[in-house]
Amino acid sequence: MTLELFPIFGVFAEDKGAAKELREGTILPALERGERVVLDFSKIGFATQSLIHALIFEPLYKLKEEALNRIEFRHCAGPVKTIIEIVVGYAFNPPVTTHTPVSELR
């Protein structure tokens, strides 16, 4: 299936609520059925990391590379492409964060 995202998100895509609905209602079920999903970013100039995370992180987390192999990211503007690379990057290889008590650094 092909999902045109501009009518949902507009030129600056930041509506996480709509992204969650799309992920839960359409993207994840389609991927779980083994279907291929095309996310068409035509006319979208920018997207927040939060939005891309809300859109694709759960399928990547649950279905791993099987999900990534079935998703095609179409017509991504440069900044959108970079954000997708960041989210996919940490989905498969999370950042290392360690808790540092402030008092111990003094």
């Binding site: 095609e72 690379e85 990057g89 964060t97 808790h99």
Partner: protein, 318 residues
């Protein structure tokens, strides 16, 4: 009646002095608070106006009246234009000519829902008259900061405003709330945190979030801090009794982003008067962020630093 004396400059540069001398916590037995300034306020950056608006709204909800001790205390024309008096609920009768909002400032807005935010962002983009990529960087910060409030602060609204200085090509953004604060929000997932200072440091690391849903990656504050740092500008966050500030980077040197905020050139203060909620101040030098994609690429590099080497998964772009 309690009295708050504002210093002359409510700026990120002098943020410690401002925060350490003014307490905006509202006690249960208070019924009136007066605000003054012995020498007058010469300038107030958006974060301070957002703070005052959030404070004013909470005071009104608790039936605490606010009075301005001297009429010139806040630079009336500017405060009126930014709609501060609407939130402080103080009357101001002099006629002040409203200026067209386009291109220079976004007055204080109360954002209480994702729909409010959507509408706010939609009006923000064309107002700046900035190159598309610069405007996107500003909208990006506003979106992430306000969403943090809506998703993590509890029942509080976000109070947001911004100012654009065309000559300096600098946009200043302020977002404040009177919610539960960073420490309380993070304790759900990080029970070892012991202070507001530690909570601020954790919250700025990529991947740290107070939520356990698939909608949160814990990256919004890290991205916003990075955008400010890459544009050689200040970024400050104040919650509970602690404040963290990234100092301005030199425009002549190489700027390196770090996952750990303690590696940035920074200030971290504790024992400040308690702010119930969170305040974020971000300056963006839009002249230095003309290529939003290269800015994002620098952020991407941080995510790739220090990881175990793994083959990169193939992403199907077309």
């Amino acid at each position: 009646m309690r009295h708050i004396d504002l210093p002359t400059g409510l700026s990120q540069h002098a943020i410690r002095h401002f925060l350490s001398t003014c307490s905006f916590e509202i006690g249960n037995n208070e019924d009136a608070i007066s605000i003054g300034s012995p020498k007058g306020v010469f300038f107030a950056e958006p974060f301070a106006l957002s703070m005052l608006a959030a404070f004013g709204d909470e005071a009104a909800s608790k039936n605490v009246s606010i009075t301005l001790e001297t009429p010139s205390v806040l630079g009336l024309r500017y405060a009126k234009r930014m709609r501060l008096f609407d939130f402080l609920k103080v009357s101001y009768d002099q006629s002040v000519r409203e200026q067209e909002e386009a291109g220079r400032f976004i007055p204080i807005a109360r954002v209480s829902s994702p729909d409010d935010l959507k509408a706010f962002i939609a009006q923000l983009m064309p107002l700046w008259h900035l190159p598309e990529e610069s405007a996107a960087a500003v909208s990006y910060c506003v979106s992430e900061l306000v969403r943090n409030v809506l998703e993590h602060a509890g029942p509080s609204s976000a109070y947001v405003c911004a100012q654009y200085y065309e000559e300096k090509q600098r946009v200043e953004i302020g977002v404040a709330d009177r919610g539960k604060g960073i420490l309380s929000s993070l304790l759900r997932n990080y029970s070892n945190l012991r202070s507001d200072q530690e909570a601020l440091v954790e919250a700025l690391k990529p991947g740290v979030t107070g939520s356990k849903s698939f909608e949160n990656a814990g990256a919004g504050l890290f991205f916003t801090k990075s955008l400010a740092k890459l544009s050689c500008s200040y970024f400050s966050i104040y919650s509970g009794n602690a404040c963290y500030r990234v100092r301005k980077s030199s425009p002549d040197g190489q700027i390196t982003l770090f996952a750990d905020p303690l590696l940035d050139k920074h200030d971290l203060w504790g024992n400040l008067p308690y702010w119930p909620g969170t305040v974020v101040a971000v300056d963006i030098n839009v002249g230095r962020l003309k290529q939003f994609r290269s800015t994002l690429a620098a952020i991407k590099q941080v995510y790739e630093t220090g990881k175990q080497p793994k083959p990169k998964p193939k992403i199907h772009f077309s």
